[in-house]
Amino acid sequence: MTTLQPPAAAEPRPAPPPARREGRSWTGWGFLGPFVAVFALVFLAPIAYSVYLSLFRDQLIGGTTFVGLDNYGEALKDDRFWASLGRVSLFLAVQVPIMLGIALLVALALDSGRLYGRDFFRISIFLPYAVPAVVATLMWGFMYGTRFGLVGDVNSALGVSLPDPLSPDLVLASIGNIVTWEFVGYNMLIFYSALRVIPHSLYEAAQIDGAGQIRVITAIKLPAIRGALVIATIFSIIGSFQLFNEPSILQPLAPNAITTDYTPNYYTYSLSFNGQQHNYSATVAIVMGLITMVIAYVVQLRGMRKGV
């Protein structure tokens, strides 16, 4: 036997705000409006549309049917998706530390003030970032060629037989090399600008205390640029998970090493454009987006918490 209870008395309401005399001012929205409109159009709408797409299945025979969360269930047990995620995770674990390590070393070297031609180094290390990824990959793809590329030329000039950078065993490392080449300069610039804003008084104090260069780096410089390090790491994680340009452009050169499900992004692209599986493609993209968000968020939390 249940008794129907009258709804519990609501908490005493706060007194209504005094009525405004001039009505609501929309000036704020005037400033915010353009941003909100663009944000809704290019950010929210595509996500909403992807979510919508992911709830259907369109078949060559039978047309479109509503399938609820079936596509998500399928994605969670899709070996091809998980294999591609594993591949970019391995890539992330190896390539990102190398790239950020080099970028950090270069930034510290530039900042030390003991380098001749500092501006020249800064520009030349940053320069690859200015080369579009597509062009960079085409260029490296040509160099990787064992028959007529640079590797091939070295082989025939020196009479050696270098391992094929585009073979299934090495192609991930070769992609890592391209990405490192492209983004060392960009990360270096982030670190370098963070180093430049450290107040000089700290260095003077350290000098008075008799600290050496290494001590200055570990006690002053690194803690001071932690924020920049975390940001660069998060960008790199997102970049690794979104890996697409490099493998898709190298694919024609190494068709058997780079499969159509090589990275999660490439997989969604293939699903959509080779197989017309737009619905499932949207699902995989959403799952991947969520995974990226979670990992980036965890890294940010941890990175900011440490030793503050």
């Binding site: 909403a48 919508y52 047309g63 479109t64 007529f148 024609p252 050169l253 080779n274 017309q276």
Partner: protein, 447 residues
């Protein structure tokens, strides 16, 4: 908390409702009767009335054909659009059809891709236009291609690709190697050549779906059986074994140049003699002449090597047709153009510009057969191509979703080229992946 989640739910519901409202009209009814009846008189009337035709095609010789057609029928304007080459165009076409917007009146579709459009009733059946009486005009391979495993006629054949063996005579002469007439001799030639010059290979192959299916076709394998929406995929027949046995040896003994077709490396290899042969379609001469200029005079054409000595089996590689998408307009006029281009005066125009015909009369004409190719040292190569065209078995069918199947060829069979996986195992995993996709797309698939 409950309040919060309720609000969240309501939000999601709203988003979905909005999205539904905006797009729910897509898809669902792609039926409609594809059997239309259009008489000769209707076509004449349409030609007199005129109008604009949108044609999506990448075939270069159509340009002249379109110009001639416009001249002949002043009221007609042919808008020739290059919407990308093969798979790119199919993506664009599929998208246009899904959106029911911007669908061309005529589209170029290769034989291997025909099934997907025919089966899903996205193409007009040209039987009602009287296309069937043209069947005798075309060689059996292409005509079978436009029927796409059904009993309709979904396009008119534009060109064809009966296979032949292109070989570098200079290289063969240099090492005193005989031009192979069987695939067994081909294997021997591959060994001899690579031994004589470790940099030279009999051919380049890194796994190509179009090539593999053509080779299976010639070897007598019939991996795909299509009956409406019932599909059977099986790579275990005797014909497939013939192909894999020989090709596996070429792979194992590293006798195939690891160079992918149409790359810079490939063109260079064809030019400098390190890639000595190509077994491919009769549309190749123009590509050699434009892409491998340095080797002009070095190359010749021979009949495709046989699986049994003295045999005469051939297969098609490539080739395409012009179809009328169901959602296109001006059907009578569109048919008039397609007939003009592929069965009428347009054929000669295209021949003059280097295309390879699908029409038997042209294949057999002395003018065509006596054409001397300067690139092949004056050889009358069309004789070989025409003979090949006549020898193509017409009982081959592609999958209704061959475009997708081909896109995953290197994911599956490609492994045989770079690892210990054998070709047979590779074909098996290709089969499994194709079966899986077919089932997901609503086909009844048997293994």
């Amino acid at each position: 908390m409950p309040k919060h989640s309720r609000r969240l739910l309501r939000g999601i519901g709203l988003v979905c409702a909005l999205a539904l409202g905006a797009t729910a009209c897509g898809g669902s009814d792609d039926g409609g009767s594809s059997q239309k009846s259009v008489s000769e008189a209707d076509i004449q009337a349409a030609l007199e009335e005129g109008g604009t035709l949108t044609v999506w095609a990448w075939e270069p010789t159509l340009k002249q054909v379109a110009a001639d057609f416009e001249k002949k029928h002043p009221g007609v304007k042919v808008d020739l659009v290059n919407a990308g080459t093969n798979a790119d165009q199919y993506t664009a076409l599929q998208n246009a059809i899904s959106a029911k917007k911007g669908v061309p009146d005529i589209a170029q579709i290769e034989y291997y891709a025909m099934g997907q459009y025919a089966l899903t009733e996205q193409l007009t059946d040209l039987k009602g236009f009287g296309a069937e009486k043209l069947s005798a005009k075309f060689s059996p391979g292409p005509w079978n291609g436009v029927k796409a495993g059904g009993d309709g006629v979904y396009a008119l054949p534009m060109d064809s690709g009966p296979m032949a063996l292109f070989y570098n005579k200079k290289v063969f002469d240099k090492y005193d190697i005989k031009v192979p007439t069987t695939w067994a001799e081909y294997l021997d030639a591959a060994r001899d050549l690579h031994e004589a010059d470790p940099k030279a290979y009999i051919t380049a192959d890194t796994g190509d779906a179009g090539f593999a299916t053509s080779m299976l076709w010639q070897a007598g394998s019939r991996p795909y059986t299509v009956d409406g929406t019932k599909v059977r995929i099986d790579f275990s027949d005797q014909g497939a074994k013939r192909f894999t046995d020989t090709w596996q040896k070429l792979i194992d003994e590293k006798l195939l140049a690891p160079v992918t077709s149409w790359t810079d490396d490939w063109y260079k290899g064809l030019g400098d003699g390190t890639i000595a042969t190509l077994a491919t379609g009769a549309w190749m001469p123009a590509n050699l002449a434009s892409g491998v200029k340095d080797a002009a005079g070095d190359w010749r054409v021979a009949p495709l090597p046989q699986w049994t000595a003295g045999g005469g089996a051939s297969a098609e590689n490539g080739g395409s047709a012009l179809a009328l998408p169901e959602l296109g307009k001006n059907e009578a006029l569109a048919y008039a153009f397609v007939e003009y281009a592929n069965a009428g005066e347009g054929v000669q125009t295209r021949l003059d510009n280097g295309a390879f015909p699908a029409t038997t009369a042209d294949l057999q004409s002395t003018k065509f057969q006596d054409t001397a190719f300067p690139y092949f040292g004056g050889q009358k190569a069309n004789k070989i191509f025409a003979e090949s065209a006549a020898n193509v078995a017409d009982d081959w069918s592609y999958l209704p979703y061959q475009v997708y199947a081909n896109s995953i060829f290197n994911d599956t069979v490609g492994k045989a080229y770079v690892s210990d996986t054998t070709l047979t195992e590779g074909l098996k995993s290709w089969q499994e992946a194709s079966v899986k996709y077919g089932a997901e797309q609503g086909f009844t698939v048997e293994k």
